[in-house]
Symmetry: none
Subunit: 199 residues, 4 copies
DNA sequence: TATGAATGAGCATTCATTCAT
DNA sequence: CATGAATGAATGCTCATTCAT
């Protein structure tokens, strides 16, 4: 009735959607997309079952919203990287963040990996993944060059492969896989061990 | 008039199971385990829906049979590798075969990758994957040492990560990913370019 | 606009469950447990097929709910019996009610009989039947003694056998079986013909 | 080719059908008609699955053949009874045989009871049961009269009810039910305790 | 006669989605 | 905005029956 109602409603909407997205991320990552039901997400989120189609129209709509959420998260990281003053700082930041994401944001990592494999079934995913992959040289080649690394094209390719390999092995093998050794290898290889980064 | 001989029956059984396993591999790889229905597999295989439970009891039994098929295939490759006379020959064989498997047996590759991510849901998969991973040092460390490669532990770890990374990138990106460049990098790095292998 | 109150929901739930229980009783009694499908029950009840597993989880859960319903009904009758002031009144009440149940609640009678025969397959049924049977002497022996009936143990045994025999014959033979004659025989035998009962 | 072939075939046919009928009786009695599959019967009988529809056309045809088998068995008993020289001898024979059938041919008893309850679904059963029931007075009334039992109509009715009651209680309660006490009660009541019967 | 592979209708159950309140 | 009862299509699986040999 009063003008602030619509603002309040908007806040309620945002809060409900947030709860649903968090629950969906958690369960999709834990059990996979198909093995997770709308009911389970509703229970985990503490909302009524009917509220999920209400906000996200379909189950696929929900997973696309989760993907967009993850992308926004990645973009924020990139912004942070760009704030590092030197090329080597940026490089170290990227490596540190990649490894820390793999270890600490296991759920995001797992979800993104398993959605990537279903790239043909989630159009949004194809768009996002191909876009990121193709944008990479433009973004990182100058950085590797500026950092004085030889064969930067080959090196960028290799770095991408290694990070993806570490990511998937950590999902599958967990702590049976000595992830820190790979990180140290990379930092030593690119002579980044003494480089300071700011968070 | 007389009933078919048990040898005839066995042949019929083998042929039907083969059709089902091939169809299952294809569809599980394409669309994932949960998104593939028994009906779809039956249609793809050209058999009646009821024949699949008849032979594989449950859907999970079917996926396990597909995994066992893939494992047997991998073991056959390993036997072949052991026939190479020199350590460098074995190493080159492994690398060549890994890359060729990634490119040419896309379906197996995709299925194994996506099942690996669901390792918690497929006990058979955990067993297979952990077994292979833990057996690797014993199998390959002597080989790397004999081939005169420095830091063999670190190198084996890295090689595993790179091959997994290439595998997953090829699934996701297909030919957008210059897979040959990574292979050449590895062959050059381990000085295998001139090594002959026999097939 | 506002969601239904939990009281409203509860009423809706009760009404739907009632419809399902009634339809299940009817069809289970008519055709037997295994020969009755969830679909048929849903059609008879006028609800969607999916609503039955929603409320009763499994088909066996449904039959157990039907049994519990029948048991509650039997217990209510027993309460009524205990309100008769004299032993002979109680006895007459039990006999009258048993015969009237056999005739008028043909469905319950038939269902309980056919489930009793499948006692090994329905644990709930075993529990209920054995409980009732073993509780009988404690309940009825004093009553027969108080009513001055000689050989009460033998007589109770015989009475049970006769009532079960009448029950099953009435199911199988229907009105071809002169049920009233047996009732009169019993009333005469125990000298209950002049005893008043209150309903 | 030679003339005796067809006779041999007939013997083989008889043997196979016998094995199937015995297995069917056993499993139908144990688990019920619907819960028993043709496959299970074939395994129990030690024949191929396809042989059962070959001989009995449908599953219902099989159950009807089992019923006919049971009827033939009952008729043989009746023949035996008629060989007893006195009315009391015949009466005692019937009672003894009924109780011994209940205890020792538990399977027949159970199967016939559960089929009787499904009388509407097995036309053969209705025919058999009603026929036997309606033939009973003609068969047994003269016998009771000759044995000097008062109120023979009422007594025959009661005897039928008691035997059916004992039958069903023994199925449901097994040895928890003191079946011998009922038998002794009947023998005493009809003064048959000293009557000799020949087997 | 006997075999068992093959079929496909039917089953119980799951679950995304709709909708009255 | 939020609820959860209701729907019905789709799933994995069972099993009576058919049929080539």
């Amino acid at each position: 009735m009063s003008p602030r109602s619509s603002k309040q409603f908007e806040e309620i909407r945002q809060a409900s959607q947030r709860k649903i997205l968090d629950a969906a991320l958690k369960l999709f990552a834990e059990k996979g997309y198909h093995a997770t039901s709308i009911s389970q997400i509703a229970t985990e989120a503490g909302v009524a079952k009917g509220l999920i189609p209400h906000y996200f129209k379909t189950k696929e709509g929900l997973v696309q919203a989760v993907i967009e959420d993850a992308v926004a998260h990645g973009d924020a990281l990139f912004e942070k990287m760009m704030k590092q003053p030197t090329a080597k700082g940026k490089l170290r930041f990227v490596i540190e963040e990649a490894f820390s994401m793999i270890v600490e944001e296991h759920e995001y990592n797992k979800l993104l990996a398993s959605l990537s494999l279903k790239i043909d079934q989630f159009p949004k995913m194809r768009e996002v993944v191909m876009g990121k992959y193709e944008g990479m040289p433009q973004l990182f080649l100058p950085l590797l060059q500026e950092a004085g690394i030889p064969n930067p094209e080959e090196e960028l390719l290799l770095l991408g492969v290694i990070l993806d390999g570490v990511g998937i092995q950590h999902i599958v093998l967990g702590d049976a896989m000595p992830i820190e050794k790979i990180k140290d290898y990379l930092l030593k290889k690119y002579d980044l061990e003494q480089v300071e980064i700011k968070h």
